[in-house]
């Protein structure tokens, strides 16, 4: 059997607290973009993909003790993994289960909340370590009693795509038999103000690949999938297979993408190469498509370099969820797996007109279509470009 098997998944984002709700939103074209309510920020005019559950509501759902020290990213991660566990065929994760999580901001929500409190309020000091990504991963691991290989990848917006890639390598090399991979990131004032200072946030709903696109909307999510070695699968339902992956660096600029989309081009090429597929065998592309002037053009150029004039159906789903940063790769991996399982294409919302430079038109309506192979792109700051290829289990 080719590729690494995906045997479980769980997701919470602005378009649903579980896979079922998410799937309904994707089919009906219902986005989760709103004004920030849970996140306390002065930047009220910036729409976000916010999960409308407060930390204390999630804590109640998870029946956590009141004095806990879970960050919001940990709470979202635990919620998503709870769903994954329920469809993985296990009642509890076996002891040798690995955990590789991607995040960009980790538990910095607590740092910005309590920055001025630590000195005089000892009760908040339990969050001092929370600033660093490993803390949030550690809290999720602690909740599920995962004690072995537990680690974090933080490569900005490609973090969870890279976690999926590393997990697949761990299975292929035999170093792990089972691993939970994905990522979790929450909305923070830090990221909202940061992206705002870069002037790449839109004050309306984002429109990826559109001529008049004017920026992205930030989002938050927890999204995880389980990968298992062949010998553990037996009669389990395989949700899809990871056939290829590639990571390359644009080596162009700390935050901007190159004009020729070199990093993206190399990442996609490597993924195709690993999957032993030709470009023509890709049925659908879940593009990174953030809705910024720079990314969408650079990505379009890279797609043209790979696929020529024969570009497969493609769309960016970020208008549904907002750009969930470190979690985005895993969110979109799950969308890719849903597309494969249900023979569906999810639309690139808010698209009106092609950009002049490349004249590419994404899928703008929900469609039923047989899908065997999906390419999913995730690109991040630091020139970090990752592509994953998922295929239907046969």
């Amino acid at each position: 059997m080719r590729g690494v098997a995906v045997t479980g998944m769980g997701l919470v984002s602005a378009i649903g607290n579980n896979i079922g709700e998410t799937h309904d939103s994707l089919k009906s074209g219902k986005d989760g973009i709103s004004s920030p309510e849970i996140l306390k920020t002065n930047l009220q005019e910036l729409p976000v993909g916010e999960i409308k559950l407060s930390n204390s509501q999630i804590s109640d759902i998870l029946k956590l003790p009141e004095c806990h020290s879970f960050t919001r990213a940990a709470l979202l991660g635990i919620l998503a993994i709870k769903e994954l566990l329920s469809n993985s065929g296990y009642s509890k994760f076996p002891e040798d289960t690995g955990f590789i999580s991607g995040t960009s901001i980790g538990g910095s929500d607590k740092t910005e909340e309590h920055f001025y409190d630590y000195k005089d309020h000892p009760e908040y000091r339990k969050y001092i370590q929370a600033q660093h990504p490993g803390f949030t991963t550690g809290k999720i691991a602690e909740y599920y009693d995962l004690k072995g290989v537990v680690t974090t990848i933080s490569t900005a917006c490609s973090s969870s795509a890279n976690a999926i890639m590393m997990g697949a390598r761990m299975i292929e090399s035999g170093k792990l038999k089972r691993v939970i991979v994905g990522g979790s990131d929450c909305l923070t004032r830090f990221t909202l103000n940061g992206f705002n200072s870069l002037k790449i946030l839109s004050n309306e709903k984002s429109k990826a690949f559109d001529k008049n696109r004017n920026g992205l909307n930030l989002g938050e999510a927890g999204a995880y999938i389980m990968l298992e070695a062949e010998e553990l699968i037996r009669d389990k339902r395989v949700l899809g297979r990871i056939l290829g992956y590639g990571n390359a660096n644009d080596a162009f600029h700390q935050t901007a993408s190159s004009e020729n989309g070199e990093g993206a081009y190399l990442a996609i090429s490597q993924a195709l190469n690993k999957a032993k597929l030709s470009a023509r065998e890709i049925d659908f592309i879940n593009a990174h498509g953030t809705g910024t002037r720079n990314n969408d053009l650079s990505e379009s150029v890279a797609l043209k370099r790979i696929f020529g004039d024969d570009i497969p159906d493609f769309s960016s789903t970020k208008a549904f969820t907002g750009h969930t940063l470190g979690a985005a790769g895993a969110v979109e991996a799950i969308f890719s797996l849903l597309a494969i399982q249900n023979s569906e294409l999810y639309p690139n919302l808010n698209f009106n007109s092609e950009m002049l430079e490349t004249e590419l038109t994404p899928i703008s309506q929900f469609q039923k279509k047989e899908i065997n192979t999906v390419l999913s792109n995730s690109f991040g700051f630091g020139g970090n470009c990752t592509s994953l290829i998922f295929q239907k289990d046969v």
Binding site: N42, F99, F135, T151, S154, M166, N193, N249, G382
Partner: protein, 352 residues
């Protein structure tokens, strides 16, 4: 089986790199230790240096030195471990944001705040378009980078990989570590670390980078055999975890010549090391390093630098030794490190 060689090394830490030649270590009477200044200008353009945070500076400097020594111009991949990432820029942007109550902000420090800034900047400088990864799992960050290197070499497509660990300190954020018991309350002199008998440790900034290759050459230091990360381990299970790790590498504890321990003078957690000192490795040459370079989330990269030096130069400066057992021909070195009882790492190096 494929082999992985360490062909170039470099470190920036509170101690000078010539500590093997010079028996007088730097001493500090504070609990947050700065990295010693090195001649950054020799390898990095002054105009660029001015814009760089300490982590980027240390990382880029060590990268260039390690690659130079190994004779590598452009590695096929760049893998970095950093537990706390670019804290200085994060602190700058966060305090500006809080002080201005989310008013108008300059993006510069935000741009440089992401954890993968160092690896990204190295790629940019070397024009290296290969696999580029940043791992941030507290004290197991550098070990994860080594793990990824082992996976990549296993694919046999890349011959040269740059791996490193880097962590910087910043005023407020590192200062917070005094409040939650990570840093010792009373100032001590670093050389008294193991005798302090109190909780907490001394925190430092450091970087250590390695040019790894599938081929050995004239500058080879050692062979990287294996690495393991373990999130949590009961005190009683540590021996068996180490034995399992060695067994996987067809070895038994008696074949280890030198054990490098991440003892950090924290009376709550040093028992992990003391058990090994008095038990499994009681008859082995024991080495410590945090009394010289302090502790931080990627300090195990310094231990790896130390092990590489020991294996190449076949000597162990007295200042690093934790017991009186000598080892004249070190062949196999095991590094064991953890922080606050979590994120344990094992690294196995062998003379080539």
């Amino acid at each position: 089986m494929y082999k992985i060689y360490i062909n170039g090394i470099s470190s920036v830490s509170p101690q000078s790199e010539d500590i093997f030649e010079n028996d007088f270590p730097q001493t500090y009477n504070e609990n947050i230790l700065p990295a010693r200044n090195v001649d950054y200008k020799a390898l990095i353009k002054p105009m660029m240096l001015r814009r760089m945070s300490k982590a980027v500076k240390m990382g880029l400097y060590c990268s260039k030195k390690a690659l130079q020594e190994a004779g590598v111009i452009k590695p096929g991949a760049i893998l970095l471990g950093t537990g706390q990432g670019c804290m200085q820029d994060t602190e700058k942007f966060m305090s500006n944001m809080l002080e201005n109550e989310e008013g108008l902000l300059s993006p510069t420090s935000f741009i440089q705040s992401t954890h993968n800034t160092v690896a990204g900047q190295i790629a940019l400088d070397l024009k290296c378009k290969g696999h580029n990864m940043t791992f941030t799992q507290n004290s197991a960050s550098f070990e994860t980078a080594l793990l990824d290197a082992i996976l990549l070499f296993g694919d046999r497509e890349i011959q040269e990989i740059l791996v490193g660990g880097v962590d910087e300190t910043s005023r407020e954020f590192t200062g917070f570590q005094r409040l939650d018991g990570q840093i010792k309350e009373k100032y001590i002199q670093n050389l008294d670390l193991f005798a302090s008998g109190t909780t907490g440790t001394i925190i430092s900034e450091s970087a250590a980078f390695f040019s790894l290759s599938s081929e050995s050459n004239a500058s080879t230091y050692a062979e990287l055999k294996d690495v393991q990360i373990i999130n949590r381990v009961e005190k009683s299970e540590l021996n068996s975890k180490i034995e399992e790790f060695l067994f996987r590498n067809k070895m038994v504890p008696s074949q280890i010549d030198v054990v490098i321990l991440g003892k950090n003078g924290d009376s709550r957690f040093d028992h992990y090391y003391e058990d090994l000192q008095q038990g499994l490795f009681s008859k082995k040459c024991q080495v410590g390093f945090k009394h010289l370079v302090g502790d931080n989330n990627s300090i195990s990269s310094y231990a790896c630098w130390l092990a590489s030096k020991i294996l190449k130069e076949k000597k162990i400066p007295k200042i690093f030794k934790l017991n009186t057992i000598n080892c004249n021909t070190p062949r196999n070195i095991l590094i064991y490190n953890q922080y606050l009882g979590r994120n344990h790492g094992l690294i196995l190096l062998k003379s080539h």
